[in-house]
């Protein structure tokens, strides 16, 4: 039974209050105002008052507007027909294609996977970006954010990985995306000829703020259903900081006590319930999540990147157009390094980073005007080669070639006893003639 209500007793931020009975928590409603109809979701029940957040915003909502409760929580259409399509933040097509009325609709923000129904991920996803493949390889079902300050080429990196990665379905969730960025993503996917395996949910910067909250949930609900069907799904999200900011806005409108810089105390749980959708199903497909988190003020201790870092399985720092070797981390790499990938992979990875750390120290020392020792020159040379051969984002090289290049680079600069590698690997891999 659908009942219409025509009395809104309070409007605060994008939240309206409607007196109504027998309404379920989390239920959806349609709010019809002079600006059109918007969906709204129940976010609090208080006696006979129902508080709703209006997805299209509360601008122009009048106290006499009609509110119709739909009796179910937010849903999204699901089916193979979604492939190649583009939707906005409330799930409506924006690519000029047909409406998807015939498809079944699925609830978004569903329950979490029973942990015992997960398996240990073992699939290596090669990206041909050596800073990823060699030092922090991406593993199927991993959730990894790209931490970057504004202006870094994070969306380019995301698109590049989206195009190259071996996945059955790629889902892009754009949250507060600049319109041009959206067009760039679309062009990249089109040019690479992968649009037919791609689904895009795009909320652009000029769309209503509350709709941002829906994008990750829709993208992940669709991903989950494909995953259960046995598909290997890659979800790209950009930018999760915009998502968190929308949550902050709602929390403040709800008079919630903020915990840190205005963000609600539930920020960790809210982000985690999205990222934790990344999964390798026992006996079915998988979901891998790569998400951009922009760091306001380039500050990693800002609540959004900070909470994200604790949730995700590592992180990439994008700084001055390159992936930083320090701080960047793939937690799942141990599951594949040396077992799925080549046996010397782990030693190369650790030694090269350790030597690069030393090189940075030398650079700092020299910058402070100290004398150069003979050793220092070798470290400086190493740093230069490391940047050219590995860090430069333009480098496009497979993993095994990159490992060989690693041995070569170390041998060009150091003696075998300086690199801290087990003797048997030195014997086997150290380039002859050095």
């Amino acid at each position: 039974m659908i009942i219409e209500h025509t009395r809104i007793t309070a409007i605060q931020g994008d939240i309206i209050t409607v007196p109504a009975k027998e309404i379920g928590y989390g239920e959806l409603a349609a709010v019809k105002s002079r600006r059109g109809t918007s969906l709204a979701q129940v976010i609090r029940l208080r006696g006979d008052d129902v508080l709703l957040q209006v997805f299209a915003g509360s601008k122009g909502v009048a106290t006499g507007d009609q509110v119709r409760f739909l009796g179910h929580p937010m849903q999204v259409a699901f089916g193979d027909a979604l492939l190649g399509r583009i939707f906005n933040g409330s799930g409506d097509p924006i690519d000029g294609g047909s409406e998807l009325v015939a498809l079944p609709r699925i609830d978004i923000g569903g329950p979490s996977v029973n942990p015992i129904k997960r398996v240990i991920p073992r699939g290596f996803i090669e990206t041909r970006v050596p800073m990823v493949d060699v030092f922090n390889p991406l593993v199927e079902s991993q959730k990894l954010p790209i931490f970057a300050a504004a202006g870094e080429p994070y969306n380019e990196l995301l698109a590049r990985i989206g195009v190259r990665a071996e996945a059955d379905v790629v889902i892009l969730g754009g949250i507060g995306l600049k319109y041009d960025e959206y067009l760039k993503f679309r062009r990249t996917f089109e040019e690479a000829g992968v649009l037919s395996r791609t689904i895009m949910f795009v909320h652009t910067a000029s769309d209503p703020v509350v709709e941002r909250l829906l994008v990750p949930d829709m993208a992940l609900a669709v991903a989950e259903h494909f995953g259960v069907q046995g598909k290997r799904v890659l979800v790209l999200l950009s930018d999760m900081t915009a998502f968190a900011d929308a949550m902050k806005e709602i929390a403040i409108s709800m008079d919630q006590v903020p915990s840190n810089l205005g963000y609600p105390g539930s920020l960790y749980s809210d982000l985690a319930s999205r990222y934790e959708k990344a999964v390798d199903f026992d006996g079915a497909g998988s979901i891998t999540i790569l998400a951009v988190t922009t760091m306001p003020g380039d500050d990693v201790t800002h609540p959004v990147p900070d909470n994200t870092g604790y949730i995700t399985e590592g992180q990439f720092y994008l700084k001055q157009g390159a992936i930083e070797p320090f701080g960047s981390l793939s937690r799942l790499k141990q599951l594949i390094i040396g077992s799925v990938t080549r046996e010397d992979h782990g030693y190369i990875m650790n030694s090269m980073i350790r030597l690069f750390a030393r090189s940075r120290e030398v650079e700092q020392k020299l910058a402070m005007g100290f004398d150069k020792t003979a050793d220092d020159d070798r470290y400086l040379e190493y740093a230069k080669l490391f940047y050219e051969r590995f860090m430069d984002l333009r480098v496009d090289i497979g993993l095994n070639d990159a490992l060989d290049l690693g041995w070569k680079t170390m041998a060009e600069c150091f003696r075998p006893d300086e690199v801290g590698i087990k003797q048997e690997f030195i014997d086997q891999y150290w380039p002859k003639g050095h």
Binding site: P73, P115, Y268, D306, G346, I353, G420
Partner: protein, 586 residues
Amino acid sequence: MDSVSGGRVVGVTGPLATVEVMEGQEVSQNEVGYVFCQGVPLKSEIIRVRGNLVDMQVFENTTGMQVGDRVDFSGELLAATLGPGLLGNIYDGLQNPLEKLDNLHGYFLQRGQYVSSLDKEKTWEFTPTITKGSRVRAGHYLGKVPEGIFDHQIMVPLSFLGTWEVVDIKTAGSYTVNEQIALLKNEEGREESITMVQEWPVKIPVRTYSERILPTTQLLTQMRLIDIFYPLAEGGTACIPGPFGAGKTVLQQIISRYAETDIVIIVACGERAGEVVETIREFPELEDPKTGRSLMERTIIICNTSSMPVAAREASIYTGVALGEYYRQMGLKVLILADSTSRWAQALRESSARMEEIPGEEAFPAYLESRIAAVYERAGLVRLYNDSTGSLTIIGTVSPAGGNFEEPVTQNTLKVVGAFYGLSRTRSDERKYPAIDPLISWSLYLDLMEDSLNERHEGWVDLVKEAQALFNKGSEIHQMMLVVGEEGISVEDLVIYLKSEIIDAVCLQQDAFDVVERATSEERQISDFLLLMRMVHHDFTFDTKEEARKEMTHMQNLFFQLKYCVFESEEYQKYRKEIEIILGEE
């Protein structure tokens, strides 16, 4: 259900339901109730009572809950089910066995399922250890059943008050957990039937033992940095705070595998599901080196990962501690790894915010400190009624916001623990694992356990302190070098610095992924550390800094190769010999 009992929902916000209690219904703080949401009973706990309104945290997703939904109260506090068959299980925060739950679409957790924590069908070989007519108290053993490699003691329920007489006790035989195995009578003549199962309210500490005693025995983790530099005691507490990516998880996993203890309880509290999966999938395959049995047989996993309901996260730590206390009552050594207590504190913060309580520092509730202290204080070494001892050791990780240890959870934890293993981003960036920063970490147990540690070798604790001092000195020299350059310091100082680097590289750093390196036995720790200290004591004389660097790099490489060799293997002896030749006669 009686018509005057229960209550009805009058408000919902997130996992918090406000319930109006019917007149005549008595409720108590922390009582469990069930909210009927779309006909499904959802387990909830009363966390505040105000007049006829109570606030309940619902341990499940509240989508679809309506004003007017019925609420039943159980009259019981949130309790853990204790009995044989707990080991090897994987529970959620409310002690539901995850393997027994029905899954939605084959994979997803469905709300409102409450499954018995123990297998009701399985029979256990019971042997009575007490005779009819004996007088017993809570915690006294009545009999035992074999569980894995242990004798699981069946005891007088821990909640029983006063003295009881054994009226009847079953003879040896097979029984299920719910069959009566004894009949007890108290002084007032009230009789109680005893089965192998009992319930204990998780938030209340078990105190049925003679006394708590000072922890003076080392708990071996096989991690050198901890065992040598900052040792942990059986019955002690430790906290591991660290920024993300500093290796907390790997550290925990290593400890859970190689710690020399009887039982390990892993509480995955608000952390990634993936980490638990590794444990769940790998432990059954791994062999406990001490017993030769699967590691899972000594392990209980309580798993309430970050996307599972927040309120159950709060309960999960208490559930873990209650299970730990229960096994301690059997005279066993129990280790609890709680990862992460920050997520638990955040769960407190979330419900506090929803109840609109006045916030304390960083919006954490004002009672944060006392709650943290109450959890860690449940650890300890105790003397049981039968004079044997049992211990409960708690290691909690903390995930401080921004990696800043000044935040409330870290600070309040530091006040109550006996050891502090602070992880540092700098060390992990330099790939120095475990990234426990030796300069900021501490352990009160080094002095407390001096006598037992000195049994390792005469003057052991002094040697350790000497190594610590040298490490600190080396670090100071390194700082100085960053300012004045290598040319600004003497050769002697350079050698001290290089020695401290060797201690760091070959003793403190430990490769968690190498078969040999990941766990170091006590015997090897002693042998290698003494050799290392001979190197430290050796009076090296170098003419130039270049020479010093070259020779010490060589020395470091020898120690480095040594640590990867199997203890006392041919290769090991070879490198050891080489080192000993350089060091000369002792």
